[in-house]
């Protein structure tokens, strides 16, 4: 299977890249430990009140999934494109979709790993229950979210002109969204208008759908309305990616 062949080497490249591993794997774990320590034993006023750690475990999984998909894909594709490797790959008989599928597969492997690691750490260190009974719901949310953020990441590459610009552009988009969406700062600390604003962007609805499925604060477990917003962003990303994706580096 050519896809697995490609994925195998994409995985080697990912795990040997210290910057990618730090920001995608280590950084979310460090954030979880910091937030749990700093905000301690407070109660966060969401869905009738949850522990800080119960809040941050799904928040950090949200961050890790977005990072493994959108951030990792856009940065690694821009670097490969600008260094000429995409162009070189197009000169081989490998079909284009194999390349894209390999990179998406890599993101999904990392995202699933982060789900397991953060959920396990939450359970072991802070006693945050793993919602085994809602595994199908979690899976649906994850599939929709991962697909949407993969499409957005691939679409974003078209807007990034150089490999030097990759990290600044991605961070300039995602860091504010993490803050405004309650991923970093608990949402009961944020003014109401901020959440309303963030609801229009993909991070907040994904976080909310995932949080509902993970913590199950009541109501229907699957937040279809939030998922619809995430899916709409993903569909827009897919269209832009199909229309504007480039294999050739700038000026060549």
């Amino acid at each position: 299977m050519l896809v697995l062949h490609q994925l195998r080497y994409d995985q080697k490249v990912f795990w040997r890249n210290p910057a990618a591993v730090f920001f995608t794997v280590a950084f979310p774990v460090i954030l979880l430990l910091i937030f749990a320590t700093v905000f301690g034993d407070q109660t966060i006023d969401v869905g009738g009140g949850v522990d800080t750690t119960t809040y941050y475990v799904p928040a950090i999984i949200t961050l890790a999934v977005v990072s493994a998909t959108m951030q990792t894909l856009s940065m690694s594709i821009v670097i490969s494109r600008e260094e000429g490797r995409l162009k070189r790959g197009r000169g081989t008989p490998m079909p284009a979709w194999i390349f894209v599928a390999g990179r998406i597969g890599n993101s999904i492997v990392v995202a699933l790993l982060m789900l397991v690691v953060v959920a396990a750490l939450g359970r072991l260190l802070y006693g945050v229950e793993i919602p085994w009974g809602r595994a199908p719901d979690l899976l649906v949310v994850l599939v929709v979210g991962a697909a949407a953020f993969c499409c957005l990441g691939i679409a974003l590459t078209a807007a990034i002109p150089s490999k030097e610009a990759a990290a600044p552009v991605v961070n300039a988009l995602l860091l504010p969204l993490y803050f405004l969406s309650g991923v970093f700062i608990p949402e009961d600390e944020l003014p109401a208008g901020v959440i309303d604003f963030a609801n229009h962007f993909p991070v907040r609805p994904f976080f909310e759908a995932f949080f509902d499925a993970y913590v199950h604060t009541g109501g229907t477990a699957l937040a279809w309305d939030h998922l619809a917003v995430v899916a709409a962003w993903g569909a827009a990303g897919l269209l832009l990616a199909v229309r504007y994706f480039r294999w050739i580096p700038r000026g060549g």
């Binding site: 050519l2 062949h5 080697k12 490249v13 040997r16 000429g84 490797r85 162009k87 000169g91 050739i248």
Partner: protein
């Protein structure tokens, strides 16, 4: 004439108002090393990237391995190997992994170990590409083009920026491609590289072919006037002649009779470098 692998007639390509390629004709036969020579900006890379299928053309007929590269598909790509002018290899993969990755794209690749041998990277198999020298990376790049066992290889300026010893090692690898029976289309702006490696050469300047032939008789070097030069009584004398054998015979006979000393006597023909500079600068 042997089977034609590349045949180009009247190729044209413009970028905006700039005509980069202005009616180029080329023909490359199976098994030969063909050097496409010219200064920077002459249209070499535009031409080779049209042949590789990366760029469209504005006019002319192009056939590579019997197909139009602008429309050729995956079957065709299996039969060509490409080394781009600028491409960084994946720095985190080793030599062996880089070759194995590309080998997986082809139906019947050459054994990876054999390719490592052919590119002279034995002993470096487990070194990451990012830690190789520039010359070694370029040879690995050639290996990645070779591992699919293509019939035709495109090498776009494979030794630009190399030190002399790295160039010599790269030349050895390219000469080895001919021994494997591959057809090689090589672009370069180094005269000595074309002279050393190529069976036939075409020189492009300002988008048009200005000379073609074997390196030996390019620009009619064989029939060009020769220069006989010597010093007589401290005076430098240069005689241009189309028949140096006769002229030398008369000159030396006279010198022997009269006891004249012809210091530093030599016969020179224009070097390929002179021909090249003459052709590309007059444009």
């Amino acid at each position: 004439m042997a089977e034609s692998v590349i045949s180009v007639r009247g190729l044209r390509k413009s970028y905006g108002d700039v005509e980069a390629v202005r009616g180029v004709d080329l023909s490359v036969c199976r098994g030969e090393v063909f050097a496409f020579l010219g200064p920077n900006g002459a249209g070499k890379t535009t031409t080779v990237e049209i042949l590789e299928g990366y760029r469209g053309r504005d006019g002319g007929e192009v056939e590579v391995l019997g197909e139009d590269p602008g429309r050729a598909g995956r079957e065709w790509r299996r039969r060509i190997g490409i080394v781009l002018q600028t491409c960084m290899l994946e720095p985190y993969l080793t030599v062996r992994e880089s070759l194995a990755l590309f080998a997986g794209y082809y139906p019947s690749p050459r054994p990876v170990e054999e390719v490592i041998e052919a590119i002279g990277l034995g002993g470096k198999e487990d070194e990451r590409a990012g830690r190789l020298s520039g010359g070694q990376q370029r040879r690995l790049d050639v290996g990645m083009a070779l591992v699919g066992d293509p019939d035709l290889l495109f090498l776009d300026e494979p030794t630009t920026g190399f030190d002399p010893s790295a160039r010599r090692r790269a030349w050895k690898v390219i000469a080895g491609l001919r021994d494997l029976g591959k057809t090689v289309f090589l672009t370069t702006h180094y005269m000595d590289e074309a002279q050393r490696l190529a069976d036939r050469v075409a020189i492009i300047a300002d988008g048009a072919i200005v000379a073609r032939g074997t390196p030996a008789d390019l620009g009619n070097r064989g029939g060009a006037t020769a220069t006989i030069s010597y010093r007589l009584d401290g005076e430098q004398v240069e005689v241009e002649t189309s028949d140096p054998v006769k002229a030398l015979n008369e000159l030396t006979a006279w010198a022997l009779r009269s006891g004249a000393q012809l210091e530093g006597l030599e016969v020179t023909r224009p070097s390929l470098e002179d021909v090249y500079l003459g052709l590309t600068q007059s444009q």
